[in-house]
Symmetry: C2
Subunit: 317 residues, 2 copies
């Protein structure tokens, strides 16, 4: 079996085990449809479970117990879904994983409460693990919210620099992947230095992941992405492409966005002005930086983590 097919089989297994775990979460149906129906709807969604996969791959490298990794993997997936449900309200996103988002299928109140529930269940999934796991999990959950706050703050602010953007996605996206890799190692036998390196691995991958996300928001396949594209740029959110475009030639860019543009217009602008290729280069750089954190690990430990970084770089969903 080739390395790639072995890896693919391995992560498929983690994904299906995670889905099984999610489906076993007890949702008390008695009198509480308002609360639990939307939660069940979210848990059946077609996420790629990339965060639990990273917990498992990192944990396996450090010989963590599979049951503990499963608990932590479920927790990070729930945390992720909590933030999606609430962010979709805040960002007016009507689709998620190819289906109506919770607030558009039901309403805002339902979605607020469903998100809260997902978050609480994530905490319950951590019970019994080392306290440091719960601590790091919640420290990073706070950073994710800080990042979302900064993201909202940045809307319509055309003075945001690339440096500020990196701070924002560092908190909102990268620290989350960082803590997934870190938690895996914390549940195994890892030195402090190794756990710090695992955080850095996930963190840099997370920066690459978000920049790739901004690219896919313009160049992705709507079907594979399961959401309507171009909405971030339309809502005047700061993305890597708009910042690169502005930093390259702010006059030309502000003239271009003066009136409504189609997705194709954006594609053309970012391609002909080499913004797209610059952003792709950034993705590559951050993935390479992430891989440096694996240098001190044995080949056996790092093999799947290395392949995971490939997955992030090449994803088209």
């Amino acid at each position: 079996m080739s390395d790639t097919s072995e890896f693919n089989e391995h992560i498929s297994f983690i994904q299906s085990q995670t889905n099984k775990g999610l489906s076993k979460i007890p949702l008390n149906p008695n009198l509480t449809q308002y609360f639990y129906d939307p939660i069940a709807y979210v848990l059946k969604g077609k996420g790629k479970r990339l965060r639990p996969v990273l917990v498992h791959l990192s944990g396996q490298a450090f010989k963590a117990h599979p049951d503990e990794l499963m608990k932590a993997g479920i927790a990070v997936e729930l945390l992720h879904n909590f933030s999606l449900v609430h962010d979709d309200i805040m960002d007016n996103d009507s689709k998620r994983h190819g289906l109506p988002s919770v607030h558009s299928k039901w309403d805002t109140s339902t979605a607020i409460l469903a998100g809260d529930g997902l978050f609480i269940i994530s905490q319950l999934s951590l019970i019994g693990l080392k306290p440091i796991v719960s601590q790091r999990f919640n420290e990073i959950a706070l950073e994710v919210c800080e990042g979302q706050g900064i993201d909202k703050q940045f809307e319509n602010d055309n003075s945001i620099t690339m440096e500020q953007y990196i701070v924002m996605i560092g908190k909102k996206t990268a620290s989350f992947l960082g803590v997934c890799a870190e938690i895996g190692s914390l549940l195994g036998i890892a030195t402090e230095d190794e756990s710090a390196k695992m955080f850095q691995f996930g963190f840099n991958l997370g920066l690459a992941f978000q920049i790739k996300d901004d690219l896919l928001e313009i160049y992705g396949d709507e079907k594979k992405m399961g959401k309507s594209l171009g909405s971030d740029v339309d809502e005047n959110k700061q993305t890597v492409l708009t910042i690169l475009a502005r930093e390259q030639d702010s006059k030309k860019w502000s003239q271009f966005i003066q009136d409504d543009k189609s997705l194709q217009d954006y594609k053309n602008y970012f391609s002909t002005n080499k913004i797209q290729s610059k952003a792709e280069k950034l993705v590559e750089n951050y993935v390479n930086k992430a891989r440096k954190s694996l240098d001190s690990l044995s080949q056996e430990k790092s093999k799947f983590l290395y392949q995971y970084s490939n997955l992030i770089m090449k994803r088209n969903f």
Copy 2:
């Protein structure tokens, strides 16, 4: 010093220590005003800190360590404020503790994120305490959300029975006071039976508390309550008064509410039909039931808890 003034002094001390603790929570101002300003605003609010007070009184009865009680007290107060911020959005409440609620001062997105932040910080406040504390805290947080879901589900449903109403407030309000009393004991030296009794003490007090709340919603002093009164009845929420009125004479009640009524109309209806006194009797019954859970404790242990139950029964805020 009389028993009452000793008690009042004691809970004032707990309240001021709790406020001090809340004011020390590090709120990172760098780039994150969108996220932290509303959180700071909430923490400066004029809550009575009744939940931390219960944690401390119970914990002191069981010789828990003050520092641990402070952590747990801060956590329950944060959890409480998280649920207020989100519930105010869901229930369209524009005032809280005499000030604009977060979503009406800022907007819905800001309030969602602020609530999320309060909840995450509550989890961080529990780090280092026994795992059972975090477990019970989150189990009950889930019940609180279930209760809020049931409450939303019950809106406009005029078939809700008193029994169903008790289930709803049991989850939404009573279990929370229950867990405050339970956590105090868990942090001290208590048998399983004693902790279960402390939960029952808080739980029954919580039922009394919510029924009293429904009464104050009609008969309270708007200034002391710090919110506009009558909104629950106007929004066609199920309260103990509307259910008692319906169960007493559903035809008369449905005729009465056919057209818009003033707060004074409601007051008159509930008084002349003895609904008010029935509800007050219920408060007394649940407080007495709560006090039964104190029977097996020594007088020294139960003294302040008994006085706390007086406070709940007689509160006018």
